[in-house]
């Protein structure tokens, strides 16, 4: 039992990490809470739902199309709702347009897919295998592998690809990055695109493992991403991983051993406690060394 719960927790944690990465990167560059993040990822998940259930498309192709469309929507939100406000002194202004963008997407999603819970098709095998006496569902392993490899690919991209390094520099200092010849607008749009794509994949993996997709999961996605990012240390990739994992694992243990109705209150109580002890988040550090 304990092991099963832990495994599911890790899987959910990996999914949360995927959803959190985009949110956290956007925050680290623009200091903007991207309220539309969850609605973008649920849009992509809905797209995948339609492609699978209405058109019986090959799951891999469906995920790819959904992720691309999600990435495009995320970039569109950036170009339309945030870009022009970037130079504004008051971040509150872009916070409001972010909220506006979130509602526009949410309501469009509702018009298209309604507000009921829809049955998301299982795209992964339901088979299990035995390991050291435990019964392990293959689905969870596949999901874990997909999520972890995407996180790894993105980490390597940031560390070694010129554009990855450019993203890190832009997140440290936008004017100086532009003096280096880094195209700022392009880089930021790219961050939104990647973040949106990873979020959609996370949403699809989540929906396929619970066989459900609903409008409400969009808003919850934004909250999860925000919470995981803050717990882990906002702006850092390691932070997104730690925060996402912690949230996923805690949630599942509380859901099983306490009660699923206490899942969110206890999880968020934990958030408050962690922040009281370490306000910068677990992996976060105070920006040092600006001599």
């Amino acid at each position: 039992m304990f092991f099963d719960v832990l495994l599911i927790g890790i899987m959910v944690g990996a999914i949360y990490t995927l959803v959190t990465i985009g949110y956290s990167m956007v925050y680290s560059i623009l200091k903007l809470m991207n309220f539309a993040h969850g609605d973008v990822y649920i849009f992509g998940t809905f797209i995948c739902y339609t492609l699978l259930s209405k058109y019986s498309m090959n799951p891999l192709v469906a995920i790819l199309i959904a992720a691309l469309l999600g990435g495009l929507l995320a970039s569109l939100v950036e170009v339309v709702a945030y870009r022009r406000l970037r130079s504004e002194q008051h971040r509150m202004i872009s916070m409001i347009t972010a909220l506006g963008a979130a509602y526009v997407i949410q309501n469009s999603n509702e018009l298209q897919w309604g507000n009921q819970v829809l049955a998301f098709p299982s795209i992964l095998t339901a088979k299990t295998f035995q390991l050291f006496g435990f019964t392990i569902p293959i689905t969870q392993i596949i999901i874990l592998v997909i999520a972890v490899s995407l996180i790894a690919v993105f980490t390597l991209f940031l560390k070694y690809h010129p554009y990855g390094k450019a993203i890190l520099c832009v997140s440290e200092d936008i004017p100086t990055a532009s003096l280096m010849g880094i195209p700022i607008n392009k880089t930021i749009t790219m961050v939104y695109f990647i973040g949106g794509m990873l979020g959609v994949v996370g949403g699809i993996l989540y929906s396929t493992s619970y066989n459900a997709v609903s409008l409400a999961m969009g808003f919850r996605g934004t909250i999860i991403a925000f919470t995981a990012a803050v717990i882990g240390g906002i702006g850092s990739l390691g932070g997104a991983l730690v925060g996402g994992m912690l949230l996923g694992i805690c949630e599942n243990f509380i859901g099983v051993y306490v009660s699923s109705s206490y899942r969110d209150p206890i999880t968020f109580l934990l958030l408050i406690l962690i922040l009281l002890v370490k306000p910068t988040g677990i992996m976060g550090s105070v920006d040092q060394s600006k001599v």
Binding site: P162, K165, A166, L168, C169, E172, D173, P175, T176, A177, S178, L179, M180, G181, I182, P183, I184, Q288, S289, K290, V291
Partner: protein
């Protein structure tokens, strides 16, 4: 090479430059000196595209620069080493240099250039894997200059390179600037250390409250009564 005519600029409604004329010829080393708040940094930021000018025009090798974004201007050949060094503290020394070469496709020559600056500044070579934020002020300044050179610029802006450095390092930085000029690079040097700046430059402009009030040969300005009084603290 660079021709600036009646440049006006500022921050929002607050104007900081009131019609600046300035010229830098190919291979020249020119100083822009003035007190705090006179508009030196604003001038550099406007030419390199960080601030949009509100009037006048900027031409570099026959091309209009005003209203181009900074990432385009640097690719045309003007490198701006900003005040306060502004290195990427969370990135390694090596990454800082690589980012300085952003957009260059000649990988092999980028490596050679990096090696060149590691040889020029051995301390950077020794610490290439270290986070740039762990370097001392002088080392960070060397990194900022090397990073600015990685683009292989034709003209380099140096904004207060000696600020906050120990005297021995100040001398070293000025020596480096002189050497860079001798390799054929054109330099615009903004400095509060007026005496030293005038000693290593050929010509100089003096800016006061957003206007050029003197300009001429550095050696002549160094001996001029007005400059000695206002900037060198001599009676």
């Amino acid at each position: 090479m660079l021709t600036v005519k009646s440049l006006e600029s500022g921050y929002g409604k607050i104007k900081a430059l009131f019609g600046i004329d300035l010229e830098i010829k190919q291979g020249e080393i020119v100083a822009l000196i003035g007190a705090n708040g006179a508009g030196k940094t604003t001038f550099l930021k406007t030419v390199s595209g960080l601030i949009k000018p509100s009037g006048g025009n900027i031409t570099f090798e026959g091309k209009r620069l005003d209203n181009l974004p900074p990432e385009t201007i640097v690719n045309l050949g003007i490198s701006h080493v900003p005040e306060g060094r502004m290195i990427f503290t969370q990135q390694s020394v090596e990454t800082n240099l690589e980012i300085g070469a952003f957009g260059r496709k000649d990988k092999k020559e980028i490596k050679q250039d990096m090696q060149k600056y590691y040889d020029m500044f051995p301390i950077l070579g020794n610490r290439r894997k270290q986070k740039a934020g762990t370097l001392s002020g002088g080392e960070q300044q060397m990194l900022a200059i090397a990073r600015g050179l990685m683009k292989r610029p034709k003209l380099i802006f140096l904004d207060e390179p000696s600020m906050g450095l120990a005297p021995v390092l100040v001398n070293q930085i000025f020596k480096i600037i002189k050497e860079l000029h001798q390799t054929g690079l054109s330099v615009l040097l903004v400095e509060q250390n007026v005496k030293k700046a005038l000693k290593i430059t050929q010509r100089a402009y003096v800016i006061e409250l957003g206007k050029i009030v003197h300009n001429g040969k550095s050696s002549e300005l160094l001996n001029s009564e007005a400059i000695r009084k206002s900037y060198l603290g001599e009676a």
